[in-house]
Symmetry: C2
Subunit: 145 residues, 2 copies
DNA sequence: ATGATAAAAGACAAAAATATCTTTTATTGT
DNA sequence: ACAATAAAAGATATTTTTGTCTTTTATCAT
């Protein structure tokens, strides 16, 4: 078990890679993305399709087509990607799996778990899709391996 | 997606319930546990079997048998339960799903994700299995619904 | 207009997580 | 010893997640 589903992990890695390439002025095809984030190509295609339907990522078909972000999209929070793929369980769900998290009828972990959830929420809302573009170009971060 | 697997959520809820009953001096059967934490009975049986094999929970067969904790076990951290069920991915894994988390070759989320992971680790290590016994007896917490 | 390109959509397949059922083994009280 | 109880173990079933393959649709360059 990890914090995010495998699908969501691929989605975030792909989004960071496409953001970097958009910053450099390129659109990117599935093949290139899959290669650079080390993901199964057809599976990633499905994931990006979903992000595209949800309006998180932009795409055009045909020659010189591919996935990309415009300036506005680059400023959207990573939380949008997570919500599109994993829903909002991670932002609102109970740590012990109760059907809903409640202040008035809390599970034992509630107080401590709330802090964890808040930190995750903070991380995902303060991290924009384009935040790491320069770092990625400089090679400071990795997205594969 | 949640932080813990469904299996692990049931495990933690069950452990808290059994701890409370142990504190009150009782052993508990699967049926009673499943009823109080709202989990599928045969599935929970499998989960507790695994915890028993791993030495996290104690059990005896036969009449008046059931699951229970001794004083020493009540002081073990909840982390032991999580590790037994979900492994240590949550404590050490990369937030973007890279095969391992590394300081020298980090993913973009590494710095922020480390904080989240550390808080989860802290929560699970400072929370003992018996920590909520009095609160549970007083009805301050819920484990079902 | 036409052919080439690349994503979208749909159908399908494999693997893992979740859940159930049946049989066996250990313990207890009589 | 024996019957009753309750967990352990093993086999099986279902659902969800992960992954693949094929066909269709949109866009571009000529
Ligand atoms: S009730 Fe469980 S985390 Fe809030
Ligand atoms: S490398 Fe991704 S969290 Fe450390």
């Amino acid at each position: 078990m990890a914090i995010f589903s495998k699908t969501c992990e691929y989605a975030m890695r792909a989004v960071f890679y496409v953001a970097q390439r958009s910053h450099e002025g390129y659109k990117v095809g599935i093949k290139e993305i899959a290669g650079h984030i080390n993901s199964p190509e057809p599976f990633l295609a499905k994931i990006l399709q979903q992000l595209s339907r949800d309006g998180v990522i932009l795409s055009t078909k045909g020659p010189n087509g591919g996935f990309y972000f415009d300036a506005a999209s680059l400023n959207r929070p990573l939380a949008d990607v997570v919500t599109a793929i994993d829903g909002d369980d991670i932002f609102t769900g109970c740590g012990l799996g109760l059907t809903y998290c409640s202040e008035s009828n809390p599970c034992p972990l509630h107080e401590e778990f709330k802090k964890v959830r808040n930190q995750i929420t903070h991380m995902l809302h303060t991290t924009t899709i384009g935040k790491f573009n320069l770092g990625l170009i400089k090679g400071k971060f990795t997205l594969n391996k």
